[in-house]
């Protein structure tokens, strides 16, 4: 067992406990960035000047009328930027643009004594625009060749030969729309300048170091002039990985120019219209199967809707390509990826980061093809699982294929799936207007940033003379329980009770050059760094204790805050040990560091081993569908998920459940719509409020929801044997979509591919039922006409294209 994964006696990791801030949460006393405004004097409020056109060149920007509004203090424009006028890392994202690139693009910011004054000032700013043609839908982008960034191709084997030799070949298309993060706390920043002209920004950011870097370059400062702090976030989900930087920079610029604190907080509609979302994708595919249903070859092209700037679209596409295999072996594959450039907000990271999109494509293929192959969908899936010794299409060995089967079979067992499938058959036979279905899907999700350099973490651990411990690390807390786990890791590696350890808010002046808290890697990277720092300290303290206890340092253990020599009754309490160490002038602080070993990735050839390991899970979802309306309920979900040996079971189960429901929202309910007409509001987000963009609520929670963590799952080479958990469970929700497909099919004669739009809203399910009833295999049905009518033709082509495609058409053996 590796040193990193080994647990000592009486570890605090593995103990189930609530979130470290739970008491503050429930009493309303936990502070978020915008809560600080009311505790800060003389704050100015920033309001954006949004231009409501999809594309155009700014020919005039008149700010004088705003300055005439009572309470307006200043208008920020590009002319005010002392440094680099760019909010991104790709230098394609001007903070104050001279071109409006999407409907609602902010071109200036107004600072006011009150938010009301700033709002009125923003409304008074006059912007003249030379309007330009816009690309709003992914389909338009593809047809007009509007792309940006890299165009990777992942190749393994010989796909043409593979298809030529296949017994069954199917081809199809799938398009699905964006997903809004809808963190409950919208983007927020509060900046002020201290006595030496240094900039201090409180920001709701998953990536404080990059926020710092961008604030510095916008202001023309060095990074050491800027400190960014994130107390906690009211949700992030990837939406605060890249997107907070520009907002923080605007606040910092305002503070620098006015000498007063500046607060910038987006309201919900501003957040929805200005910040990026999960990429919608378009996919075309051709797949070949052996006579017994094993995949021989997959040829696919995935196109992501990147929006107006690149942001993280390239790595999102890379991860989508790396996850189109999911748990299935693809002996021959050629998967091309590209990023469409559209006049929409720039799409960005979102929990899963392309992985869900890749997996949705392959699971959709499996769900559509199973009836055409005459196989039960579960059987088709299981037949294609990775086996020992096989590698992914990008060349990484699949090290734990046994876990794919283990979580699958455990899920079948826990869910009583065989028996329930019989009950469902009986129910369906007796109910002409209501059908139930149960689907099982598995996941395999690669852990680590695809970009190797990001796989490092840092920590700073301080022990004070009284024995209390303060830990700092580079990760941010957005609800995922990272800080809870870090406290447990520190207490475990120092051998002290949890209450001895406190955690300081994440700040760039404590740990430099941190990576985003993203890619599910927060615990792996920061946990290992905290552990490293604690072990340095423990090593020094063991020397002190050894002398005091008359034992060899290697025979001293610190357990529960007491140091003892092996086989000896002599004890030394932690507080005493620390005090003695201080008087012996032993350093009681340590910087910890960790780099993930064994990773390599060649983006050009699209090959390597980019992932430290894979996380696994399986879900069995049962739904009930009303044949009259397409409305449905999730009756029961059973999940077995592999988190290695859990560091904190309540936290991990919370991540699994929350990720699953968020994924179910993406796949069934959350329906992002844009105005793609040629009318005056072309490019406008139609679902720009909570009343029109619906998240899962209590009614979407599975009525019975059983989540189990895989047992005896120690992960060698990761912190205390655990695995990352943030993103992978989201993709377990593919089981819900597949269950809905099967339930829709149950209204018809069977044996045909049932196509289902994504998200599978009640309307989409209704059209799938109608198609299943007709027993049709391929025709443009109601869905095409239904969705494409009217003002939402933009997303209309979501399902229009899918239904219109010759999904299951040709069998070309």
């Amino acid at each position: 067992m590796s040193h990193l994964s080994e647990r000592p006696e009486k570890p605090v990791v593995g103990v189930s406990m609530p979130h470290e801030s739970a008491t503050l949460h429930v009493t309303g006393t936990a502070l978020y960035t915008d809560d600080l405004v009311h505790r800060t004097k003389d704050v100015l409020h920033a309001h954006p000047v949004q231009v409501m056109k999809a594309h155009g060149r700014i020919t005039a920007l008149r700010t004088e009328p705003a300055l005439a509004v009572p309470g307006v203090v200043r208008v920020l424009t590009g002319a005010d930027v002392p440094g680099v006028n760019d909010a991104g890392m790709k230098h394609d994202e001007p903070l104050f643009p001279d071109h409006v690139m999407f409907y609602g693009h902010a071109v200036a910011w107004v600072l006011g004594e009150t938010l009301e004054a700033a709002r009125l000032g923003a409304a008074a700013v006059e912007v003249e625009l030379d309007e330009l043609p816009s690309v709003v839908t992914l389909r338009d982008a593809i047809e007009t060749g509007s792309f940006h960034g890299a165009r990777p191709v992942m190749v393994t084997g010989d796909v043409d030969a593979g298809l030529a030799g296949a017994a069954h070949v199917f081809t199809g298309e799938l398009q699905f729309s964006d997903q809004e993060h809808f963190y409950l706390e919208t983007h927020a920043a509060l900046a002020h300048i201290d006595e030496a002209g240094q900039v201090f920004v409180q920001s709701s950011t998953q990536h404080p170091s990059e926020t710092q870097e961008i604030v510095a370059h916008v202001l023309g400062l060095h990074s050491h002039d800027v400190t960014v702090q994130c107390l906690r976030m009211g949700g992030g989900f990837g939406g605060k990985e890249m997107q907070p930087h520009g907002f923080a920079a605007v606040a910092a610029l305002g503070a620098r120019l006015t000498g007063r604190p500046v607060r910038l907080r987006l309201n919900r509609t501003q957040d929805l219209t200005m910040s990026g979302k999960r990429h919608g994708f378009h996919a075309t595919w051709t797949i070949g199967f052996d006579p017994d249903g094993r995949i021989r070859a997959l040829d696919a092209t995935l196109t992501a809707d990147g929006g107006w700037s690149l942001d993280l679209s390239e790595p999102v596409v890379a991860r989508a390509l790396c996850h189109i295999d999911n748990v299935y072996r693809l002996p021959h594959a050629r998967i091309a990826g590209r990023v469409a450039k559209t006049n929409k907000a720039s799409n960005t990271a979102f929990r899963g980061f392309g992985g869900p999109q890749g997996m949705l494509v392959i699971e959709d293929i499996m769900g559509r093809c199973a009836p055409l192959l005459g196989l039960d969908p579960m059987e088709l899936r299981e037949r294609n699982f990775y086996r020992q010794g096989q590698t992914t299409p990008y060349g990484q060995p699949v090290l734990q294929p046994d876990r794919i089967s283990a979580v699958w079979h455990k899920t079948l067992e826990n869910g009583g799936v065989a028996e329930r499938r019989r009950e469902i058959d009986a129910f369906n036979a007796a109910h002409p207007h209501t059908k139930r279905a149960l689907a099982v899907t598995g996941i395999k999700f690669g852990i680590s940033f695809n970009l190797t350099a990001f796989n490092q973490g840092g920590a700073l651990v301080l022990i004070y003379k009284d024995g209390s411990v303060l830990i700092n690390h580079g990760g941010t807390e957005m609800g995922q329980g990272l800080h809870t786990k870090m406290l447990q890791v520190a207490a475990t590696s120092l051998g002290i009770p949890l209450h001895k350890v406190r955690l300081a808010p994440t700040r760039t002046d404590k740990v430099p050059n941190t990576s985003a808290t993203a890619a599910s890697s927060g615990t792996d990277l920061n946990g290992a760094a905290v552990k490293n720092a604690c072990e340095q300290l423990r090593g020094r303290l063991l020397q002190v204790a050894a002398t005091e206890l008359g034992a060899n340092a290697s025979d001293v253990r610190i357990v529960d805050g007491v140091a003892r020599g092996l086989g000896s009754d002599r004890e030394l309490a932690w507080d005493d040990l620390v005090r003695i160490a201080y008087f012996q002038r032993v350093q009681l602080s340590a910087a910890g560091f960790y780099r993930t070993e064994g990773l390599h990735w060649d983006a050009a050839s699209f090959r390597g081993s980019p992932f430290k390991y894979f996380a696994h899970g399986a879900a069995a979802a049962e739904v009930e569908v009303d044949g009259f309306t397409g409305a449905y309920r999730i009756r029961r979900v059973d999940i077995v998920h592999d988190v290695g040996d859990s560091l904190s079971p309540m936290i991990d189960i919370g991540q699994v459940e929350g990720g699953f429901v968020q994924g179910a929202g993406w796949l069934t309910l959350e329906d992002m719509r844009w105005d793609a007409t040629d009318g005056p509001h072309r490019g406008r987000l139609l679902t720009q409020a909570a009343s029109t963009y619906k998240l899962p609520s209590f009614s979407e929670m599975p009525e019975e929801f059983n989540v189990t963590l895989l047992e005896n799952a120690t992960e060698e080479g990761s912190v205390y044997g655990s695995k990352a958990v943030g993103e992978p469970p989201l993709m377990l929700a593919l089981s819900v979509r597949e269950a809905l497909r099967q339930a829709a099919a149950a209204f018809g004669p069977g044996g045909v591919a049932v196509e289902l739009a994504s998200p599978a809203t009640p309307e989409a399910v209704y059209w799938a039922i109608e198609e299943a009833r007709r027993g049709a295999t391929s025709q443009a049905g109601h869905a095409g006409g239904g969705f494409t009518a009217g003002s939402d033709a933009g997303s209309g082509d979501v399902s229009g294209s899918e239904v219109g495609a010759d999904a299951a058409a040709s069998s070309g053996a």
Binding site: A22, V26, G28, Y183, L184, F628, S691, K694
Partner: protein, 496 residues
Amino acid sequence: MVAARITVNGEEAPLTPAATHTTALDFLRERGLTGTKEGCAEGECGACSVLVARPGVDRPTDWVAVNACLIPAAALDGQEVITSEGLAPAGTAAALHPVQEEMAARGGSQCGYCTPGFVCSMAAEYYRSDRCAHTERVEGAPQDGGADPAGSADAEHGPNGFDLHALSGNLCRCTGYRPIRDAAFAVGTPADGDPLAQRREQAPPAPVATEYVQDGRVFLRRHTLADTLQVLRERPDAVVIAGSTDFGVEVNLRARRADCVVAVDRLPELRELRVEPDSLVIGAALTLTEIERRLGGDVPLLAELFPQFASRLIRNGATLGGNLGTGSPIGDSPPVLLALEASVVLTDADGEREVPLADYFTGYRQSVRRPGELIRAVRIPLPLSPVVAFHKIAKRRFDDISSVAVAFALDVQDGIVRKARIGLGGVAATPIRSLAAEAVLEGRPWTAETVGAAARELRGEGTPMSDHRASSLYRSAMLGQSLLKLYARTTEAVSS
């Protein structure tokens, strides 16, 4: 007139310098009570949920959870508000309220941003006076024909009588809700000496006549209907609010700033619920929650409507008067009230008149209501037709806006449809009745053939549009499907 003030967590707070449009949410946050959060500013997410003391349904006072983002702070003049910071008994800083205890211990919070709102909504249900544990209900006296206050212990009701619909207006993006449900279903009953429980036994805060002026704008509340009608006559520009669940959205999302706002939600004349020999009169300013609880299941079609009407947080403020006053074609109550053949009682300084609801709407958000006229009540004729259904077609099961809504009230005797009334929402510029389908049904046998013919008429009703909620084809299809579904339900009920 006494300066406007609100009692927040037991302390009096002056309203000034808040603007007349300042929401209770911003008012609280300005006072440093930042536990109350803004998540959406339109009453959809519940992060701003707080408790207010209101006249009780079967105790003197109820603690009612509302969206602080929608209510003007001035509307709370003289009222009592409790926030997440004030739930635990004063002077015991470390102590948690029982609902806070359960939420914290069971993992009910992750990022924590929605949590204070959940806690307040949960606390309101905790203190609901007719909530009783499932076992208590079974052992206790049999319930009358009214709504089952405890509910049965099912997916939406806990063994402790907790109704999950109490949380239908709260969104959480992190947890997936399971631990929140566990917390809700685990809370017990208030202990002896619980100050908020005791507060329920005292009279509610009286409505306070308010004339709050800031920046040339005024927020008004009068004690009597006559005084209110006089104001409306003098100020034809006045915006009338009850729960402010619609106007609050206008203020927050569309920056509407009214020069004069008049609150009518506490006028006694608008708050009566009366059964007359041939009709039921429901005051226009009763909240939907009050109607729901006071009627129980006495009007089955309304009982079907309420759980599908927005969320509990909204129903705690929204009124029938408001729903008809805004005149939205996708309001949830008009289809039901049309099917019930309701009429609208309108009143102004000159007197009262009554208009059948079917004649009330004249165009998109327009009606026969004149300037200066108030909706005082809704009258529903008795007896009620026995076969009823309300089908709300929406993407989400709780708290969504309907794509279309269909309400049926049918009288089927000896297999013949004697009378049919069908109200539709979402198919035209106003809510409408389906006269064509009614005509096909009436006098015909209740058979698949008749129903099929009527469903065809329903599918042809109005001109449903395609938008982000649904396509026109789906909307039209659902009009017909609703009747087929009702028919299947009646025939399956017979066969089983």
